[in-house]
């Protein structure tokens, strides 16, 4: 059993709260990803779990043990570093052997484990090379190999794919996911790429400014974002977030976005509006929740095309709603509007999110 619990862990550097009261409970054999923009504290959190950085507060449990004060070597973890950190003067075989040798594992067992790892990662023919003689993808496999020979309770990986080209990244993504299931290991994975997080993880912790903004399954994060930050971070293209003001016109509450006044038709949105504390809110709409409709459709919004971005299987249209540039999926892939072409948009009220502008919190 290797569940991992972070209980209110804190790390400060001077005035910077790099990790600010983070608590997560990660189940055994779970694939959990920490995702967030640069500088949000992902690496720091991971290094604290590894024991490479001391805690300024809180506790870390691996299994049932409190490991907060233990050395990295006593935590039963293995780590893959962002730049791989292979030992440059050692051959691939000696790189894989090193963690075993340091743990005084006998030669036969060590050889077996190295061969098994080499086979899983298909690096058997590279064992006698030095890291410098390997491509980025091969080095990455060796770094994975050095982690799996140990057979640790928990794998920690810090952006292991960020140095690879796009195609290789896609391939390794699948391989790592597969590996984790094959090894039945608990995995804590760091990335700043939300697509990587969405495709690989059982659950994702979205971090910003040292805090966990939301911890949940990819579905939960995509469909029920806790706040504006998560809404804007998860999903590609990002959710359209339009500042709006709640106004009363003839006893009816409406949303004013720039010059546009939008009168919601559904009870659901009226309900959300009634729950808002102040009158300043942010309207959240995914690109698929804004539909291009025929001109003259009732309670639709009229605007103009800014750009059209064909990607092959989807065509995105950029257009202003209120004062905010929004991305919309065109229903017709072949649509090729030009700058200034009039279009009519209908908002999907079942999939409209409302956030408090001040706190950023979702109104539910």
């Amino acid at each position: 059993m290797a569940e991992v619990s972070l209980k209110n862990i804190v790390k400060t550097y001077g005035d910077v709260r790099a990790v600010d009261d983070v608590s997560l409970h990660i189940h055994d054999k779970e694939f959990v990803t920490l995702v967030g923009p640069s500088g949000c504290g992902k690496t720091t959190t991971l290094h604290m779990i590894a024991g490479l950085i001391d805690l300024d507060g809180g506790h870390i449990f691996i299994g049932k043990r409190d490991v907060s004060e233990l050395d990295p070597k006593d935590r039963d973890i293995a780590m893959v570093f962002q730049n791989y950190a292979l030992y440059p003067h050692k051959s691939v075989r000696d790189n894989l052997l090193f963690p075993l040798r340091m743990r005084k594992i006998d030669k036969n067992t060590a050889d077996q484990r190295i061969n098994r790892a080499a086979k899983i990662l298909s690096i058997e023919q590279l064992l006698d090379r030095k890291p410098k003689q390997l491509s980025g993808g091969q080095q990455q496999r060796v770094a994975l190999g050095r982690a799996i020979v140990r057979d640790p309770a928990v794998f920690l990986m810090d952006e292991p794919l960020s140095n690879l080209d796009a195609k290789l990244r896609l391939q390794m993504r699948t391989e790592i996911k597969h590996l984790q299931q094959e090894l039945q290991a608990t995995m804590i994975y760091v990335t700043h790429d939300q697509i990587e997080a969405m495709t690989m993880s059982d659950r994702i912790a979205v971090m910003d400014k040292g805090k966990v903004q939301q911890f949940g399954t990819p579905d939960e994060l995509f469909n029920h974002p806790n706040n504006v930050f998560v809404a804007g971070f998860i999903g590609n293209p990002p959710m359209n977030l339009i500042p709006a003001q709640i106004v009363s016109e003839g006893g009816d509450k409406k949303l004013r976005m720039g010059q546009i006044t939008f009168a919601p038709q559904s009870a659901r949105v009226h309900d959300l509006i009634n729950k808002a504390v102040g009158d300043k809110v942010v309207v959240g709409l995914r690109n698929t929740a804004i539909h291009m409709v025929a001109a003259g459709t009732p309670s639709a919004i009229n605007t103009q095309v800014y750009t059209v971005e064909p990607t092959g299987d989807v065509t995105y249209v950029q257009a202003n709603i209120g004062d905010k540039m929004c991305t919309i999926s065109s229903p017709d892939v072949a649509y090729r509007g030009r700058l200034g072409d009039p279009i009519t948009l209908k908002l999907d009220e079942n999939r409209l999110y409302l956030f408090d502008e001040l706190t950023g919190k979702a109104i539910v």
């Binding site: 050395d71 780590m79 730049n83 340091m102």
Partner: protein, 294 residues
């Protein structure tokens, strides 16, 4: 290539003065020394006489010269080893993130920054039997009665010189190793800690192999410059007493300009040159290899 040379044909005359000076000061003496090593150069007469390999034979049979060779080896080996160990340890120390180390680092460089001449004079006085600060202090404290003749006693003279050289050159090793340590990525140590390596294993499995080129280059440079160390020894002891601290370079100087045996001294120079060229080739090899490896 040829085209390039032709294109720059009017630039070459500008090199002539520099080439001329080099020819006069390096190329001519170099070949003239080899030439002289096959001649007898009696000080009483203006002529010189061809003697073949006699000078070399005499050197290898001369007990004084063999003592000088032995001194040179002791001096070069221990004069490299001691500063090397001290400098290495100092580098490891100043590489720690402790308060006050910036100041210590600056202070430790002082001996290296000081010239050989003033340093040698200063140490000659420090070691002096009658007026030296070491003997004086020990006598004042009542720890010894008689003065300690550091630079006279056969047992103390080489260790004393090596001590001064250690003091003088350890900062060089420290700077080289410290610079080398800065280039080792922190992540290697992190990986090693996760892999279960103790501080001791980290030192031997990461620090030393990562520094191997720096260590080779530094020790070779030190060794070569020690073999050529004229100033320190000439000022502190002049090679004496009784050849106890004479090394090949000081011996060459004394045989040519004091006893005026230019032929013999030239033969010794050629031998020293042959030894040094071997080390220099190793040095250049290591240097280019490390440059190629990045």
């Amino acid at each position: 290539m040829l085209k390039n040379i032709w294109k720059h044909r009017w630039d070459y005359p500008y090199l002539l003065p520099a080439l001329g000076v080099m020819g006069l000061l390096i190329v001519y003496p170099f070949f003239y020394t080899i030439f002289l090593s096959f001649y007898d150069t009696p000080s009483s007469r203006p002529e010189i006489f061809f003697v073949g390999l006699d000078n070399y034979r005499e050197l290898l049979r001369d007990e004084t010269f063999l003592l000088v060779v032995k001194n040179t080896l002791i001096w070069s080996v221990f004069g490299t080893l001691c500063p090397f160990l001290v400098g290495f340890l100092a580098a490891l120390l100043v590489n720690q993130k402790l308060p006050g180390l910036n100041f210590a680092r600056g202070l430790m460089i002082v001996p290296y920054a000081m010239g050989f001449v003033p340093a040698s004079h200063a140490w000659r006085w420090i070691f002096h039997g009658d007026f030296g600060v070491i003997t004086g202090t020990l006598q004042y404290l009542g720890l010894i009665k008689d003065p300690i003749p550091f630079l006279q006693s056969p047992a103390l003279i080489m260790p004393s010189l090596i001590l001064v050289n250690t003091w003088k050159s350890f900062p060089f090793v420290m700077i080289m190793v410290y610079a080398g340590l800065q280039t080792i990525p922190e992540s290697l140590y992190k990986a090693a800690r996760v892999d279960g390596a103790s501080a001791w294993s980290q030192f031997w499995e990461i620090t030393v192999p990562q520094l191997s080129n720096v260590l080779m280059v530094t020790s070779m440079l030190m060794f070569i410059s020690n073999m050529n160390q004229f100033t320190l020894i000439e000022i502190m002891t002049g090679g004496g007493p009784a050849y106890l601290s004479e090394i090949i370079v000081t011996w060459i100087y004394h045989s040519s300009f004091q006893t005026l045996r230019f032929g013999l001294a030239s033969a010794a120079s050629v031998l020293l040159f042959l030894v040094l060229i071997v080390f220099s080739i190793f040095y250049v090899r290591t240097l280019t290899r490390s440059a190629v490896q990045g």
